[in-house]
């Protein structure tokens, strides 16, 4: 009996130790999703592995692609069309090139609103979490493209757009 209790304590200690160790290698990031009426973006906190900046940026984009949790109460909506894959991230001083598969264009729902949400959820999620990143260039299959769904020009890098980063309170006020 005593042995059993002793073993349980040891096990508990080891698992807490592992948990702490894992926690210390994680960092918190903020991912931006679309609000219900598409006016603003809603932030969600997530954890990713502490690693070099390229890996971290990849993790952030992959979380964005994965979308918000499927919970109606949160009233968060994805901003990346279904089937999109991240092909690569390249960082050159303060600019990051994010390379997506062609589904970004092919599966995009269209509309200025959706296009703005797609672009600035990518741009803001990256610039917000990494001080080093000031400019984001979106690429499709490794190439610069002029537009995603025929509205905004994405041939050039974008900087963070803070006007879209509003609280949900603002959002519901206008509904």
């Amino acid at each position: 009996m005593r042995k059993c209790i002793f073993l349980a304590i040891i096990l508990a200690l080891i698992s807490t130790g592992i948990w702490y160790w894992r926690e210390s290698t994680m960092r918190e990031v903020i991912i931006y999703f679309s609000s219900e009426n598409g006016r603003y973006m809603i932030s969600q906190k997530k954890k990713i592995q502490k690693d070099n900046i390229v890996h971290q940026a990849k993790d952030v984009i992959n979380l964005l692609i994965k979308g918000p949790p499927d919970n109606r109460k949160l009233k968060m909506f994805p901003t990346i069309p279904e089937g999109v894959k991240l092909l690569g991230v390249k960082i050159d001083s303060n600019r990051v090139d994010v390379n997506f598969s062609r589904a970004l264009i092919q599966n995009h729902p269209g509309g200025s609103n959706a296009e703005i949400q797609t672009i600035f959820s990518i741009v803001n999620s990256l610039t917000h979490n990494f001080d080093q990143i000031k400019w984001v260039q979106i690429l499709v299959e490794g190439e610069k493209v002029s537009t995603i769904s025929g509205h905004l020009c994405i041939s050039f890098p974008f900087r963070e757009d803070v006007s879209l980063m509003q609280k949900e309170e603002n959002d519901s006020k206008h509904k």
């Binding site: 729902p109 200025s112 609103n113 959706a114 741009v123 002029s146 025929g150 509205h151 020009c153 050039f156």
Partner: protein, 450 residues
């Protein structure tokens, strides 16, 4: 230790700020201008900043008999004296002299309502360019110059703005009437009276508008849950707006970028408007969002705020250098000028953002009032279809096809007619407002009532 450091830092910062303030302060500086030809000497008010001497742009232009065009919206100044041309942009150190980039430090400065140029730049460059002798003596504050205009009879020249862009065969000249503030007839602007059109050309009236139905052909745009295609909605509303504007405003002509279901590249839409030299560009779209709840009306104008100017200029430098050379070899003036525009990082539409915002406001207000639509506001973004337009240009998103209720509305002919009427009335209000400001006659009230 840290405390002392902090105090020391504060003192140091204070000293730096004081030094900066004292060095960077503007000072008035009387310059002596000596005319080498007529042996006349006059005093002009110059300025001193950071130990650099400045002369007023107006004065030097008068003395050398140069015509210049200053666009107060873009802060761009052009001197054209065949075959020479100099282009400045206030606040930029890059100057284009006959299409060659020359550095100027410091840049053009605006003090009050007057522009100032560094005297040293005038001495170093203007003599060569305009083939005259200019020497500057910093000690005696004297600029010796081969004056073209007798210094005693200096006359104010009319200021014009010339703009160049894709699709234009030749530069377009626009005179900015508000540059003539203080002239006798300016009082009636404020009183809102109908002005005599004597000094203001009829061509300033807005009577030629391009309506651009978004998407088309192989590009359906957004598609609703129940299958409604954005391209069809856009075309119907655009055709209706054309009909309404043409029947309600005397002399109005509207041009559609497409009048059927076919594809046109984005770049050709503004190019058509530029080529035809129309007064307004209105792109008609229907919106879509990731959430089906999103609803309402929004109007967009161009904004370059989130956009990388330097990358834009660098891209031009990389891609267009060859074109520029080609153009120079072929003597293609239009192309050269278009490239100048690009080198200066200027987009044609940037000159019209203010007017585009006003037009957006009138359209949005009318739509929300008449349709009871949810007002999502006037927004700016870097739009493909707006960035090259050489006239006020807006993109209207007439409701969300992705919202099932709005999709049903956008399917109904009577609702689309109401949207068209609301937009047409918004455009008419803008035209009325603009022409009243310009001192042109009002479009009579009630003309646009059904």
């Amino acid at each position: 230790m840290t405390r002392i450091n902090l105090v020391q830092k504060k003192i140091l910062a204070g000293i730096v700020i004081i030094t900066l303030l004292s060095v960077n302060a503007w000072a008035e500086n009387n310059l002596t201008i000596h005319d080498n030809i007529n042996h006349l000497t006059v005093q002009v008010k110059g300025a001193k900043f950071n130990n650099y001497d400045f002369i007023s742009f107006e004065d030097i232009a008068k003395i050398l008999g140069l015509e210049y065009k200053w666009n107060p919206i873009t802060d761009r100044v052009e001197i054209v004296k065949e075959p020479n041309e100099i282009v400045f942009v206030k606040g930029k150190n890059t100057v284009l002299v006959n299409n060659r980039i020359i550095q100027m430090t410091p840049s053009l400065q605006l003090i009050g309502t007057r522009l100032f140029i560094p005297v040293e730049f005038v001495e170093a460059q203007f003599g060569n360019i305009f083939n005259c002798k200019i020497t500057w003596n910093k000690q005696t504050n004297t600029l010796s110059i081969d004056s073209v205009t007798p210094l005693t009879s200096l006359r104010e020249k009319e200021r014009q703005n010339i703009v160049f862009a894709k699709g234009l065969e030749e530069p377009m000249v626009r005179t900015y009437p508000y540059l003539h503030k203080g002239e006798p007839n300016s009082s009636s602007f404020a009183e809102g009276k109908i002005m005599e059109t004597g000094t203001i050309p009829e061509s300033l009236r807005i009577r030629f508008v391009v309506i651009d139905p978004g998407h088309g052909g192989k590009d359906p745009g957004a598609i609703g849950k129940n299958g409604l295609k954005e391209k069809d909605v856009n075309l119907y509303i655009s055709k209706k707006i054309k009909e309404l504007l043409e029947s309600h405003i005397p002399g109005m002509k509207c041009l559609l970028t497409r009048d059927g279901d076919y594809f046109i590249p984005l770049s050709e839409r503004a190019a058509l408007a530029n080529y035809k030299k129309v007064d307004l560009f209105i792109s008609i779209h229907s919106n879509a969002a990731f959430s089906r709840e999103a609803n309402g009306f929004e109007v967009y104008h161009l904004s370059t705020e989130a956009c990388d100017d330097e990358a834009r200029i660098a891209a031009v430098a990389e891609n267009e250098a060859v074109n520029l050379e080609d153009a120079q070899n072929k003597g293609d003036k239009g192309k050269q000028l278009n490239n100048i525009e690009m080198i200066l990082g200027q987009l044609a539409q940037e000159e019209f953002i203010g007017q585009s915002q006003e037009l957006s406001g009138f359209i949005l207000e009318s739509a929300c009032r008449k349709l009871g639509a949810v007002d999502r506001g006037i927004k700016g973004a870097f739009f493909m279809v707006l960035k090259d337009a050489l006239m006020p240009a807006v993109l209207v998103e007439c409701g969300f096809i992705s919202n099932p209720i709005e999709e049903t509305n956008l399917r109904s002919t009577s609702f689309k007619d109401e949207i068209s009427l609301a937009i047409a009335e918004g455009v008419t209000s803008y035209i009325n407002y603009y022409e009243t400001q310009m001192g042109l006659n009002n479009i009579k009230k009630g003309e646009n009532k059904e």
